[in-house]
């Protein structure tokens, strides 16, 4: 089974993140850049499927030159190779354009299974797998907490607000995974060394037959028109519990009409 894992580089969510003042795009200089955490679970799942069923695992990333660090880190976990869609014109692309480019790149890879994270920590939109499935005419099984592969049959279990559902499809398909699906491995020293030699193919927009005017700020279907930092919440009262902390808490709740 040939698997492509979508990996996005994002600013570290534990650091102070911001948008650039000039064009309102994510400021990649303001925080260190890391692999979108949920994508590590997708990589782990791909490796487990490969261990059980064979085939090849390819990482696919669309992002600026700095994303190559995340690609190496992803490869150090064990995948065979990577494809990096890199083009200056991509800066400022909206989700819709991103899906167009990723779909074009996936078109060159003929994967049986595409795995990705359920959502990214910077965008948090949760739309990429369905946008890609819509463009490619394949099934999307999203938000998996469990994935079973038997031949070409795929079954996932996913959490819902009411309980859970079991959803099935056959390959080719896209599956997005939640962080409850597995525990990603740490790269070994051997893995890190091996990753340095693994092939990383770079594709430009021209290679994919996508026009520069369809992506970036020019081709964007939505635009940020204004941004400002939310004023930090002013900490309010803080009291030490001197045996009456619970009562004081309720007094506060009552003053705010919650009791």
């Amino acid at each position: 089974m040939n698997i492509v894992v979508l990996v996005k580089q994002v600013p570290d969510s534990s650091a102070e993140r911001s948008l650039r003042a000039d064009d309102n795009t994510v400021d990649r200089g303001s925080a260190s850049n890391v692999i979108n955490e949920m994508d590590e679970y997708a990589i782990e799942e791909a490796l487990r499927i490969q261990e059980a069923h064979g085939g090849e695992v390819t990482i696919l990333t669309m992002g600026p030159a700095s994303a190559s660090e995340s690609i190496r880190k992803a490869l150090s976990m064990g995948p065979d190779r990577a494809v990096h869609v890199l083009d200056d014109a991509l800066h400022g692309s909206c989700a819709l354009s991103t899906s167009k480019v990723l779909a074009a790149a996936l078109g060159t890879l003929s994967a049986d299974l595409v795995l990705c994270g359920a959502e990214s920590t910077d965008g948090r939109v949760q739309v990429m797998p369905h946008m890609l499935a819509e463009r490619m005419g394949v099934a999307a099984l999203t938000g998996a907490r469990k994935l079973t592969v038997e031949g070409t049959a795929l079954t996932i279990e996913r959490q819902t607000d009411e309980g859970y559902e079991v959803v099935a499809a056959t390959t080719p398909a896209i599956v997005s995974v939640w962080d409850t699906i597995n525990e990603p491995r740490y790269p070994s020293f051997k893995g890190i060394m091996a990753a340095k030699k693994k092939p990383v193919q770079t594709l430009s927009l021209a290679d994919l037959g996508v026009a520069a005017s369809e992506v970036g700020a020019e081709g964007a279907s939505s635009a940020v028109v204004e941004q400002h930092k939310r004023p930090p919440r002013a900490g309010g009262q803080k009291i030490n519990d001197e045996g009456d902390g619970g009562a004081k808490l309720v007094e506060f709740l009552a003053s705010e009409k919650f009791v």
Binding site: C94, R124, Q126, G163, V167, A169, R233, I239, F258
Partner: protein, 318 residues
């Protein structure tokens, strides 16, 4: 005035609160028209409630095809409706299903998407909070109509009674929309507590709660205040409470009137899911815990002393 389509979120024959919020918002933008999509007979029990909140028209797409697969058939029906009706805007809930339908609709219509908005004005300008609540952005669709997913609890639903006229939709779904088959749907008993993302009061416990059994304390306070129970990732990872109740960056985003954090340090990824709560209360034994930086009222103390006392005090006042 042009129609504003509101895609109805419902479960077990009831309209979810986010839908009433969207109908309220839609009235500012045009004439609200609700769209119900689901299996045969799904619309009837929802009509009164939709009318009560101003839906003069209810488009009803009812077919086993809309129920037996993941969102693709729903997106197909909606796309046809948008093409025919040229609405002023399309609103969906910012829930897993709402976002998934919206993503497909955006591709089908080559239309920009505004995700997770807390407000949308008549000019189509949406307000969103990003980066763990630290930044507020205003954005706009530059291609197509305003297509937005609306974050639950962003506004208070206001009734505006209308009589809902039902317009049945034709459901013709091709095979590529039927690739992801729902094999089983399991409803887990959830008791009387409100749903986490919709609750106006949320009481969350963290690692400081210590073990699964102690979560009873959190539940007790939640029940006394009519709230939902939430948990930090550390509490979930330690097996104290189920994953669907996790609040934060990789869990649910909540925006209640009151958020109470018990034994939660207030890591940035936790704040990402609760920072827009109206009033925040924290109990933590560490005076330096970052949660106090955003708490309107903080008690530095042992939650095993403070919470039972608070519960007792509320009972007394009732």
């Amino acid at each position: 005035m042009a129609e504003v389509l509101v895609v109805v979120e419902h479960s077990g024959g009831e309209v979810k609160k986010v839908t009433l919020e969207m109908l309220t918002l839609a009235r500012e933008l045009g004439t609200p028209a609700a769209v119900v999509l689901g299996g045969p007979g799904v619309a009837a029990p929802l009509l009164d409630r939709l009318g009560e909140y101003g839906a003069a028209k209810v488009y009803a797409g009812e077919s086993a095809d809309l129920d037996g697969y993941l969102v693709a058939p729903k997106a197909a029906v909606l796309a046809d409706l948008v093409r025919q009706g040229q609405p002023a805007a399309v609103l969906l809930g910012s829930t897993q299903e709402g976002k998934e339908i919206a993503g497909r609709l955006a591709v089908k219509l080559d239309n920009g998407l505004l995700a997770d908005v807390s407000a949308l004005d008549g000019q189509g300008v949406a307000t969103q909070t990003v980066f763990a609540g630290s930044t507020i952005v205003k954005s706009q669709v530059t291609r197509g109509l305003p297509l937005a997913t609306v974050r639950p609890n962003s506004l208070s639903p206001v009734p505006a009674p209308a009589t809902a006229e039902v317009v049945p939709l034709e459901v013709a779904v091709d095979d590529t929309a039927k690739l992801a088959r729902v094999v089983e749907r399991k409803v887990e008993p959830k008791g009387a507590r409100p749903e986490l993302t919709e609750a106006s009061v949320v009481i969350s416990g963290g690692r400081g709660v210590g073990n699964a059994d102690n979560f009873k304390l959190v539940e007790e306070l939640a029940d006394l205040l009519g709230g939902a129970v939430g948990a930090s990732r550390a509490a979930v990872d330690s097996g104290f409470y189920p994953h669907q109740f996790q609040v934060g960056q990789t869990g649910k985003t909540v925006s209640p009137q009151l958020y109470v954090a018990l034994g939660i340090s207030g890591a940035i990824q936790h704040r990402a899911g609760m920072q827009t709560s109206k009033t925040i209360v924290a109990v933590n034994k560490d005076a330096e815990a970052p949660i106090f930086e955003l708490a309107d009222f903080g008690v530095v103390g042992d939650l095993f002393k403070v919470v039972p006392q608070a519960a007792e005090e509320i009972r007394k006042r009732k």
